[in-house]
Symmetry: C2
Subunit: 157 residues, 2 copies
DNA sequence: GTTATTGCAAAGGCTTTGCACACTT
DNA sequence: AAGTGTGCAAAGCCTTTGCAATAAC
């Protein structure tokens, strides 16, 4: 039972550093900058985007360091990974309410979706099927309002 | 407006061949065997599994041919691709009712989920947010009944 | 001083692409 | 005959891993 969701909303860098140490990890400049990149990103970012961001201040950071740090943060449950099928994973700092993503398959935009849209379904899965869904992060594909208007729903081929 | 879902349920190989031709594609033994592999698979298969299956009768088939054929079939909308985050895509012949997948993150089992579990949510997304979801295929992650029992919900780290 | 972490480089897995030859139409 | 489809090989992309040097504890 994973237990409660912590509110990291007002967390400071020093708090994150302490969490790292308490989890038995070391606090390095690279890690702090990766964390900062995640926290200042307005949403989901790829590992490559994090690396690019960090390199503006710290040019030598390697992608492998980013991936390894993301691994640590995922295990600490302060970062969530979502896979929207674009080939690369997207990562997000989990300081927000549980929420989900509406991915437009035409323009690749991603909007957030409030958790309550999935709650009913989740309850039914558990009650009727015995399946305990992990609804922390969910991606729903389709067409956003604009792309429906544009008629860019091409009958390809 | 993709339009209605055709019932391919009782389709025969010759029907598929005709569809290919009508879509301007050529009917080759490789394609027919790939199609057969997809149709006889009891669920979702990876490109590699299709290749292995086809090679039992036709050893020279290349993975690139499988991928290219899957592309054709996807555009003809007789095959659906789902991404369950395992790194490789899974493909499925779309001769069934729209349905979804419950993916157990502990034992990697995949059960099907009837469409009606998602219908309500889909309607709300459209009505309240203007987002037209594509609910043809959906993957929901979580723990199946057995893995909840086993307590293999490890607090990793 | 110990131990974890980094950067570099290389490998890994899945998928895509270029090209000449073969096959379907 | 015309044109698509195939196999082969190579490349592409994201991600992971091995290793010696480095930095945090």
């Amino acid at each position: 039972m994973g237990g409660g969701r912590v509110d990291w909303g007002s967390m400071q860098d020093s708090d994150v550093a302490m969490m790292l140490r308490r989890a038995g990890h070391k606090v390095t400049p690279q890690r702090m900058m990766i964390i900062r990149a995640l926290r200042t990103a307005r949403g989901h970012v790829t590992a490559g985007q994090i690396a690019d961001d960090v390199r503006r201040h710290f040019p030598a950071v390697d992608l492998s360091t980013v991936y390894r740090t993301l691994d640590v943060l995922k295990r600490m449950r302060v970062v969530t990974a979502i896979d929207v099928g674009t080939g690369d994973s997207m990562f997000e700092w989990s300081d927000k309410e549980p929420h989900h993503h509406l991915v437009c398959t035409s323009c690749d935009s991603i909007e957030n979706l409030d958790h309550h849209y999935l709650e009913d379904m989740g309850a039914r899965l558990k009650a009727e099927l015995g399946f305990e869904p992990n609804l922390d992060h969910f991606a729903i594909f389709g067409l956003c309002r604009e792309c429906q208007m544009d008629g860019c729903n091409g009958h390809e081929a």
